[in-house]
Symmetry: C2
């Protein structure tokens, strides 16, 4: 389908009516005033739950606990069509430059992360050169990790943001499939204590260090690399034998004289969408082997195939995006909680938080016009059942409504369990997940106002058989494509991150002041307020009488 | 001060005017319409930043990046007085039954967690029997951990929610101070994979297992304990020699025939406020020793002393609470992000998330009346600088404003650093923290709308010299007391959690169905919808053709 896409490729991005003036958005705003009330007796029936489900790529999505009915679903379908979001997705899969703002300087790049896993069956991405370099890098991964065998048992994975959150989340999720005694320390923060803690108790002789930076010049990563190299040299080891680089071609890190191997990222893959690229690849191939990594890619590719379907009931990512937009723009809920009932997914919400909020936390549209409706919600979450004993009080009885996306699996990963009081822990885990969705939706009346539950609080359930590598790939791609669809619906560019530049520039000024002070010079490049902040922190020790002022 | 408190103790809770009808709240609502705009040139000056700071218990709080001026601060002071929040805090310190809803069945307990650290200088809590039992338990901790010496190097810490999040967060924060080769695995989740992963590679002979449950009957904890006992028995070890209990007197776990030691929690300490009790005690004493634990208590006690001050500029927790209420109720921001620039505090936001949202995610007041204003915001966060490369895009350019509480320290914990390009990593860390606060407040104009920053986004900076045990105690108590003050301002009971009961009951019904199905019986205690959900998940394997239907 994507392969036959030939027309002026910007059209689906620029020609559709603006989100707020689409016929369907106006109609949805009307429908929202009398949206399905889940707490009314007889609304949430077993027929409703059974019929409101979509399946694909190994995942089952239940949306009968959302405040929608058939009419609202039809209007959501219409919204997807009016906003031409599937054609936009086709343009993405075709490798078009979807990362742009019309009429202004912008990155003008493709966002072809689906190509990083389009190495199975018939291709669905249509940029042959992208697929070729992807396959080359995958071959390099296989070869390298085959060659090194068991020379290393520990990896220091040095990267931050898009170079860390996704890979970290997926590696945690797949720990069950690790090769014997493989382990990893993640170092992202410029905070020196993180590196100190990681170096303690690590046998550097058996350690492989992966430096991951798309630009090859990320402040935190470059600093931490310098410190790691010092540590190896101090230990009498040659960094070149232990360090590998993951970076774009031609960056300062693309240098085989300094690294044992260099794996290439390409500018058609954004950092937060790089989990299925060599960024995730070096980590998962090291920890769990290349076969597991390819299973993961396979699952993601399966889900990508669904993202090109036109009917929202067959297109899980689009349906999830539309339900998100329904909750955010029409029902007015400012946040969304993702609650995996799986301890292995403990870092998955933090990855989605980045992916959603960095992609869609924007205020201007494709023409650079200020947007009059809310875009990305705050996405947050922790695993259940733990979260039930933490913030679920607010989800049930707080003054704000928080829609929830529950994730759960029929089987445990290790298959080891404990029968206690006649049921397994897995039975109890799933029972708790379902009970929370029911309690949020139905509520409960009580004469004691403190034991009253209003109900009518929506959720979606995303279920799989087991959290294996393939299912994890599908789950990741479900959310990656969902996030892209949200951006297409809202008419924003989900693929840049100009909002991080201002702080970066101001930090450089303050760092210049620190450098000058250490050298006994004065530097006025930072503002007076910034310099005063540095004075205040410098005074903290002396103010408390613990450490003399050192400047 | 608290000791002389004699009057009808409920008065400060019940007699003040309701939050929304206080004179000061009405005035603040007016002032909010023209609240300080931080992005206007000349507003954020170095004088403003330097003067808007409060210090105490080793912490410095800068609030010049909040959208307040002297008039607003005076009205916030007036709001604190109209709502009688310091007298309410005095009642809490006096050990009064502050956990109540007037006119309805409620828990009617004290919330005397400050007593768990009131073991220094002159006492500030006035319940002698509470202080006596606290001192007894602290003595038991010292004795026990002295006696066991180095018999164990690993702890399995089995507890959930209030019995896990706080202790986990503080233990992570103090890893730097751990005794040699001490380590811990946390098991909270009913998810069987968490326990399986923890048991792999753990030498049970050197393992101490702490079972932590205030009620002695928490589903997850009881299940995980049963499985851990099986593992010890299978390994030919006597659980009694390895298991210790932390529970209330007279629960099923208060049984020295089954545990090597039992440490007592009391009903005057809520789970989410139990970090300074024996719950945190068994963990920190094991990992870092009793001296470190007492330093932590000392810091918390120092901060508690400030919480009884009347002037909001001297009362850091109250000031933080008032700024939170200002942002939530008058400026209308639905969430707050806590961003520690310290990797050691990586789990601290998750603990605060529980503490805030379980305490104040409520919709009824002290009289059980429905509340017409928002209460607890969604509190969330991840460490900086990592978060800058994640969701900060949305903080700077999203359509919603998210107030931020930054936490930072002058010195690193380990004192090991790396000079790179003329500055240390700690220099870079703090420069980044300050740069973010500046960027959020000031914004930046640009002809390219995609590079435009509106600014006027508020933050508070909480700074200390070094994250040692004492400073961590002060930081924890800052937030514990802040959360209590918010509840006092909103007129709610922050100390119960009735909102978790409905889901718990529904889960028990579904678990009963699972049990019956495993025994070949039918059980109809759960609703038809609930049973259908169990059918759907059971069908998942067969629907995907992987596993035959087993029922």
């Amino acid at each position: 389908m994507a392969g036959t896409y030939q027309e002026s490729w910007k059209e689906p991005f620029l020609s559709p009516p603006r989100f707020e003036v689409t016929r369907s958005a106006k109609r949805l705003a009307e429908l929202a005033k009398s949206a399905t009330n889940l707490s009314v007796s007889g609304v949430v029936t077993e027929e409703r739950i059974a019929s409101m489900q979509s399946r694909g790529a190994g995942l089952t999505m239940l949306y009968g606990f959302q405040r929608v009915d058939q009419e609202i679903l039809r209007e959501l379908q219409a919204l997807a069509e009016e906003r031409q979001v599937v054609p936009q997705m086709q343009a993405l899969f075709a490798g078009r430059s979807v990362n742009f703002i019309e009429g202004f300087d912008s990155e003008r790049r493709a966002a072809l992360h689906p190509a990083t896993r389009d190495v199975f069956e018939q291709a669905i991405t249509s940029d042959l050169s992208a697929r070729r370099v992807v396959e080359e890098e995958l071959q390099k991964l296989r070869t390298f990790f085959g060659e090194i065998g068991n020379s290393y048992d520990t990896m220091l994975f040095i990267g931050i943001g898009g170079s860390e959150l996704g890979p970290h989340a997926i590696a945690d999720a797949l720990t069950c499939y690790n090769l014997p005694s493989r382990k990893v320390h993640y170092i992202g923060n410029i905070d020196p204590d993180e590196m100190t803690a990681a170096l303690r108790g690590t046998d550097l002789r058996k350690t492989l260090v992966a430096i991951v930076s798309k630009s090859g010049s990320t402040l935190e990563t470059a600093t931490n690399e310098a410190r790691a190299r010092q540590a190896f040299q101090t230990a009498g080891l040659d960094p070149k034998q232990h360090f590998i680089a993951v970076t774009s071609p031609k960056t300062p890190m693309d240098d085989l004289s300094r690294y044992r191997a260099v794996f290439h990222l390409f500018d058609f893959v954004g950092g937060r969408f790089s989990s299925t690229s060599v960024v995730g690849g070096v980590l998962i191939c090291f920890l769990a082997g290349a076969t597991t990594f390819f299973e993961f890619l396979d699952g993601a590719n399966q889900m990508d195939r669904l993202a090109l379907r036109l009917d929202i009931r067959d297109n899980l990512p689009l349906l999830l995006a539309l339900l998100s937009v329904w909750n955010r723009n029409f029902l007015g809920f400012p946040t969304v909680a993702v609650i995996p009932y799986s301890q292995a997914l403990r870092r998955f919400p933090a990855h989605l938080q980045q992916c959603e909020m960095e992609s869609n936390g924007k205020s201007v549209d494709r023409y650079g016009r200020r947007i009059p409706y809310p875009t990305a919600p705050v996405l947050w979450g922790e695993p259940g059942t733990n979260a039930q004993h933490s913030f679920f009080q607010l989800l049930h009885q707080g003054t704000d409504v928080v829609p929830v996306e529950f994730i759960g699996f029929k089987d445990s990963q290790y298959g080891e369990d404990c029968m206690y009081n006649g049921t397994s822990s897995q039975d109890k885990l799933l029972s708790n997940l379902f009970a929370q969705a029911l309690a949020l939706a139905l509520g409960h009346d009580n004469e004691n106002p403190n034991k009253y539950f209003s109900g009518n609080r929506p959720s979606t359930l995303i279920l799989g058989q087991k959290l294996d590598a393939k299912t994890l790939g599908a789950l990741l791609a479900l959310y990656e494509n969902k996030i892209a669809f949200e951006g297409f619906l809202w008419g924003i560019n989900s693929f840049d991150q100009e909002g991080v530049q201002l702080g970066k520039g101001l930090a450089e000024q303050l760092i210049a002041v620190c450098r000058a002070r250490r050298e006994g010079r004065e530097d006025l490049s930072a503002s007076a307020v910034g310099r005063r902040l540095l004075d205040i922190v410098e005074d903290i020790g002396s103010a408390h009488g613990i450490v003399p002022k050192s400047r």
